[in-house]
Amino acid sequence: ATIKVGVIGPFSGPFAHYGKLYKDSVEAYLASQGGKFGGHEVQVLYRDNGGPNPSGTRALAQELIVKDKVDYLGGFVFTPNAMAVAPLITQSKTPTVIFNAATSDITEKSPYFIRTSYTLWQVTVPAARWAHKQGKRKMVTAVTDYAPGVDAETAFKAEFAKLGGAVVESIRMPISTTDFAPFVQRIKASGAQGVYVFLPGGPPNLGFVKAYNENGLRAAGIDFLGSAETDEFDLQKFGDAALGLTTAFHYSAAHDSDANRKFVQALRGQSKDAIANYASVGAWDGMAVIHKMVEATGGKRDGAAAIEAARKLSWESPRGPVSIDPATRHVTQNVYLRKVERSGGELINREVENFGPQPDFGFRK
């Protein structure tokens, strides 16, 4: 039988690049498997929810489940969209793989959720530990004022305090901020040794880093520590301004492994401007999980069995060895400390330290 997979993401609107990242990656994975999972034809249906839009997402998922009779769902960039489908997939027993949405407790909302991305707790706790190890005792957090930012701030403060450091100021920057100069001035005035930053992708990253440099924070020795701020998607736009920025994150396109090279190559084969970053690797591994679930159920529609199989998975991802935590159904993975460097004219996130496998520290039950 043909296996149907519904992928929901923003394919239009300001976040449409996520849709493209998903699609390139999903298609690349399918192509790498010859279009078949365990001998079954795979058909992927893409649906556009245009951005954070839970009620629309729910209707799309409902349609995919009821009308198109999909066996698996995947995608989801934003937390509320994923939350919106939780009751549906529980009712219809549809295994659903989250490629990105990063709030810890989503997987609690339905036993049919699996997540192949990361959570803010997962990457922030190692970052806080590293900062402490570097001798930092006074840090500032500067996060964009929305749920993931608040997660990042809470995680950093909790871990850093536990280690005996002090977060002297916690700045929340409105999501609509374009002028970062005031925040950067506040960081400078706080007298901290470094700043832990969380920003959503795109223009704010550029704006913040520009302000960070222009207002002399780098010169003053206030170190920058972040997570996805130097994301490959617009890394090249930073120019020299990004050199030396440090981030703790689970994936770098420069990860040195055969699996990663294969992944990057598969993407290139799919589309010449395809980009390997956290979203595309999330989608790639998400498809890998669906692949495994199809094999485990022999292509039959059995959500419970599929999830049962997925709980025990571990495999070699482009980001390194990963496994699914049976309790949280969230991926356990290595987190790396990366530094932006120039290599062959391009900027890359060079992994300089491997913190080893990290669970989702944010999952409370």
Binding site: D48, G51, P52, N53, R58, K109
Partner: protein, 332 residues
């Protein structure tokens, strides 16, 4: 033309007839079992755009902040379901009350102004509520959305099902009921005076019409129905996101309204249906090009004379468009 003829030409059409037509078309939707979720969303948007028509088309106040009432209604229904009762009708009432209350309070401020100033003030009100909803995470869930509430069966007998049939019928029933009330209001002496204010605001006080009070009333009524739309949306999707207070929902609703024709009520339903179906189709074919489609459509709508584009819509007359034309012919 004699008096009776003129009166006939000017007589408003019957609310009941409109409602039967709408309900009839709506029930035909039951034949499309796969599309119920979409149809339910169309019904919700149609209700929202209908309430927008009261403000924009009838009272002549261009607003881009109507979403404030929708969002407040949605959050009210969600919070009520999460904390107090899962009964859908009580939630609906709470949503209506929240929408009306928001309109009542904000109307006191914004209705004192006109035109562009009014427009921007409505934007400000919606943006402020958006900021507050984001800030009050404990109540609203912030940008993770307010979720985790379940809704009891409608009237205790019809549980919301996976296929979305009950959700659709529920939304349709609320839409048709609201349309009936709205149509009555628009064709009443009250509605007439609001339209008078629309067309010639400075003149109305001299006719003994308390402009501020009438506008406030219509604003509150619009808020009530927008709140109901929000509540239904929250109940059938089981989640309320910050997007239900977002600027783009206001803008989209305005586009739908003008697409269908402002000031005629049924235009709101037509506009919402066209827009949503188009969006749905376009995004399952090639979502990347949705903006080309909608952008091009908007421009065409404006450039092509609306008479030829929508003459078939005139089958259902606007209360006096026909009369005026008939009278003209008579005079010529």
């Amino acid at each position: 033309m004699n008096r009776a003829g003129i009166e006939r030409a000017l007589a408003p059409s019957s609310p009941l007839r409109h409602c039967v037509v709408i309900a009839g078309i709506g029930l035909c939707g039951l034949l499309l079992p796969d599309q119920w979720p979409l149809l339910a969303r169309i019904a919700v948007m149609a209700l929202f755009v209908l309430s927008l028509d009261l403000v924009v088309g009838i009272a002549g106040l261009a607003t881009l902040g109507h979403v404030a009432f929708f969002g407040m209604g949605a959050y009210a229904a969600g919070i009520v379901a999460l904390r107090w009762t899962a009964d859908p009708l009580l939630g609906l009432a709470a949503g209506a009350a929240a929408g009306a209350a928001t309109a009542a309070v904000s109307g006191l401020l914004v209705l004192r102004y006109q035109g562009f100033t009014f427009l921007m003030l409505t934007v400000a009100v919606a943006q402020i509520l958006h900021s507050l909803a984001n800030k009050l995470r404990g109540w609203t869930g912030g940008d993770d959305g307010l979720s985790g509430f379940a809704i009891d069966p409608v009237l205790g007998v019809a549980p919301f099902d996976l296929e979305g049939k009950v959700a659709y019928l529920y939304a349709l029933a609320v839409l048709v009921g609201s349309y009936h009330v709205v149509k009555h209001i628009v064709d009443s002496p009250f509605g007439l005076s609001v339209r008078g204010i629309h067309q010639c605001r400075p003149r109305m006080p001299a006719l003994g019409t308390p402009v501020a009070r009438q506008l406030w009333k219509i604003y509150v009524i619009a808020g009530l129905f927008a709140g109901m739309a929000g509540a239904v949306s929250a109940q059938i999707s089981g989640i309320v996101g910050l997007d239900s207070l977002g600027f783009s929902l206001s803008a989209e609703a305005l586009v739908m309204l003008i697409l269908g024709g402002a000031g005629r009520l049924y235009g709101a339903l037509v506009g919402a249906a066209i827009f949503m179906v188009l969006h749905h189709t376009a995004s399952s074919i090639n979502p990347y090009h949705w903006l080309f489609v909608i952008g091009g459509l908007l421009m065409v709508i404006v450039l092509v004379p609306r008479e030829s584009l929508a003459s078939w819509l005139r089958a259902i007359p606007r209360p006096w468009a026909n009369g005026a034309r008939a009278g003209r012919r008579e005079a010529a």
